[in-house]
């Protein structure tokens, strides 16, 4: 090969490279431009506030004047505050009862709907209605249904001579009454998720089980349940994350009655009270951040324990 042709070749190589580089630069420029608005918005309204919230946890701040550093004082105060401890306990009970209950009901309903049943869309629509309904409205309707004297529920119980509890005003059962409403609100969403999971289960498993003469109940526990564990895992994770943050329903149920504060106050309600009723934003930040840590911890624990019950080999 002559020197000239080598030179020519390397020259054209360089030109291609240059062209490619140019194109790459142009591509990168446009890509950054496309991402910029979202990244900027998320940085200003989500990422920076998340960091700021952590820092504010160590301050006393009224939301107007400059915050003053107080170290761990907020956290220490909170753990000595019995009403905040109670709010943590309420939140944990709320989550521990509502999430499994909602998942269990949803599993039963989804299995019944998965039997090629007539009116599938009709049922699915009805079960899903509460999910799209404004939680504030849901709270108001149920408050009225639960009304001790004029409510529909106690009226029906009275017809059958059953005990008529004061659902919301008996401090021992108030939280459970709200949990029932929350289960009613969330079950439809879980039905959809589990139905999608069930539709991924291959029919051959059941055919084999039929041949072996396994009963329907046996089939459920040995085939269906193990094979939908990945979906159930997702239902549990997302369910816990949102139920630990419950607010709207609690806010409406408490309303103006101070008597309901103790039995119904959740952590987010406490954040609202401290931050926006007492203007103690430092303490409120500490509360919110503790909740964040708790949510992270519970999620991580679930991921660690999933090996024990979630089967991905279906």
């Amino acid at each position: 090969m002559s020197t000239a042709s080598v030179l020519k070749k390397s020259k054209s190589n360089a030109a291609v490279k240059n062209k490619r580089k140019k194109r790459f630069n142009r591509e990168a420029f446009w890509a950054y431009l496309f991402i910029l608005p979202t990244l900027l918005g998320l940085a200003v309204f989500y990422m920076f506030p998340a960091v700021a919230s952590f820092l504010l946890s160590f301050t006393r701040w009224d939301g107007l004047t400059a915050p003053t550093y107080v170290g761990l004082e907020n956290v220490i105060t909170l753990f000595q505050d019995s009403s905040f401890i109670r709010a943590i306990v309420n939140t944990l009970i709320f989550t521990a009862v509502s999430v499994p209950l909602s998942a269990a009901f949803a599993t039963v309903i989804a299995i019944m709907l998965n039997q090629k049943i007539k009116g599938m869309v009709f049922y699915r629509t009805l079960y899903f209605l509460p999910v799209v309904t404004m939680p504030v409205a849901v709270g108001m309707v149920w408050k009225w249904l639960y009304n001790t004297d004029y409510g529909l529920i106690n009226y029906v119980l009275g017809i059958f001579n059953l005990p008529q509890p004061s659902w919301l005003f008996d401090p021992n059962i108030a939280l459970f009454s709200v949990i029932l409403v929350y289960v009613w609100m969330t079950v439809g969403n879980n039905v959809i998720l589990i139905l999608a999971g069930l539709q991924g289960v291959s029919k051959t498993y059941y055919e084999a089980a039929e041949i072996d003469g396994a009963s329907k109940i046996r089939q459920f526990f040995s085939i269906t349940l193990p094979l939908i564990t990945p979906t159930l895992f997702f239902v549990f994770i997302t369910g816990m994350i949102s139920s630990l943050q419950v607010f709207d329903l609690i806010f409406i149920m408490i309303g103006d009655s101070t008597a309901l504060l103790e039995p119904l106050r959740t952590v987010v309600y406490a954040v609202y009270e401290y931050g926006f009723e007492y203007s103690q934003m430092g303490i409120a930040s500490a509360q919110a951040f503790l909740l964040f840590i708790a949510i992270l911890a519970i999620t991580i624990i679930q991921f660690v324990f999933q090996k024990k019950w979630v089967h991905y080999d279906g």
Partner: protein, 270 residues
């Protein structure tokens, strides 16, 4: 056969429990105040009256709440669909330095619960002078990490040959996004749109904190405040609740196929 009958019976009982609160909400909204204070309660109204609906408009500026909520919902949803799809396009289809790092940074936002960012945001919006304005209601809600993630997943599934052909024809990056990717991603865009509309319409804590005047009130905050003023007048409260929820119920009934696909997608993907 027997099993099917048992199935239907149980499903109907369940469906009944789901629908009764809605029926009771509507029936109560048509009763008079004195009728609701009767023991035992009446099931059907003695006389179907629509006065409560008119009274809601007479006692507060309900029309304003409605317009505010529609404005907030449309503002958040339209901008979010545009910005999220644009970013998702870059992550799914383009090469640039730092792509993975930036994507992980955006995903990290998904972990942060709303109330953690609430208090600093109150400070930020105060600094910007946005408290009690539409900016506070709409602007922070225009950005969504979830939206970027959902759309990117969907865009990745659209055949690459389509944009390669378009590049050959000299189509710009924005052209590929606008003419190739968006038209092929309508199911995902509709699903994200419904999620955003629902969340914006039903949002409560954010508008409760970031607005204070009657002029800026949205439906959720409006009917909650209503409860404070007319705590025992349930017919009036129920009329307000019916009117605030009906647009979403109608949207759901017409678009449920898309919503169901969207929800199912999330669960199966993991």
């Amino acid at each position: 056969m027997k099993l099917k009958l048992a199935n239907h019976t149980l499903l109907i009982i369940g469906a009944f429990i789901m629908i009764v609160p809605f029926i009771w909400m509507i029936l109560t909204s048509l009763k008079t105040f004195s009728e609701t204070m009767q023991v035992p309660p009446t099931i059907l109204p003695e006389e179907f009256k629509f006065d409560n609906y008119l009274n809601v408009f007479a006692s507060v500026d309900f029309l304003k709440y409605y317009m505010n909520t529609i404005f907030l919902t449309l503002g958040r949803t339209l901008v979010q669909l545009f910005l999220c799809s644009l970013a998702a396009f870059a992550f799914a289809r383009m090469e640039f330095p730092g792509k993975n790092t930036i994507f992980i940074l955006i995903l990290s936002v998904l972990m942060v619960p709303m109330q953690v960012i609430l208090i600093p945001n109150y400070g930020i919006l105060t600094q910007l002078g946005w408290i009690d304005t539409f900016y506070a209601l709409i602007v922070p809600g225009m950005f969504s990490a979830f939206g970027v993630f959902l759309l990117r997943q969907f865009f990745m599934g659209i055949p690459k040959e389509l944009d390669e052909a378009a590049t050959m024809d000299g189509c710009s990056f924005f052209g590929i996004y606008w003419r190739i990717i968006l038209p092929n991603a309508t199911p995902a865009l509709i699903a994200l749109g419904i999620f955003t509309i629902l969340a914006a319409w039903n949002d409560f804590l954010w508008p409760l904190i970031m607005t204070s005047s009657e002029d800026m009130r949205v439906l959720s905050v409006g009917i909650a405040a209503f409860q404070g003023q007319y705590s025992t007048d349930y017919p009036l409260l129920m009329a307000g609740a019916v009117m605030s929820t009906i647009p979403m119920l109608i949207m759901f009934i017409f678009l449920q196929k898309h919503l169901v696909t969207g929800i199912a997608l999330q669960g199966v993907r993991r």
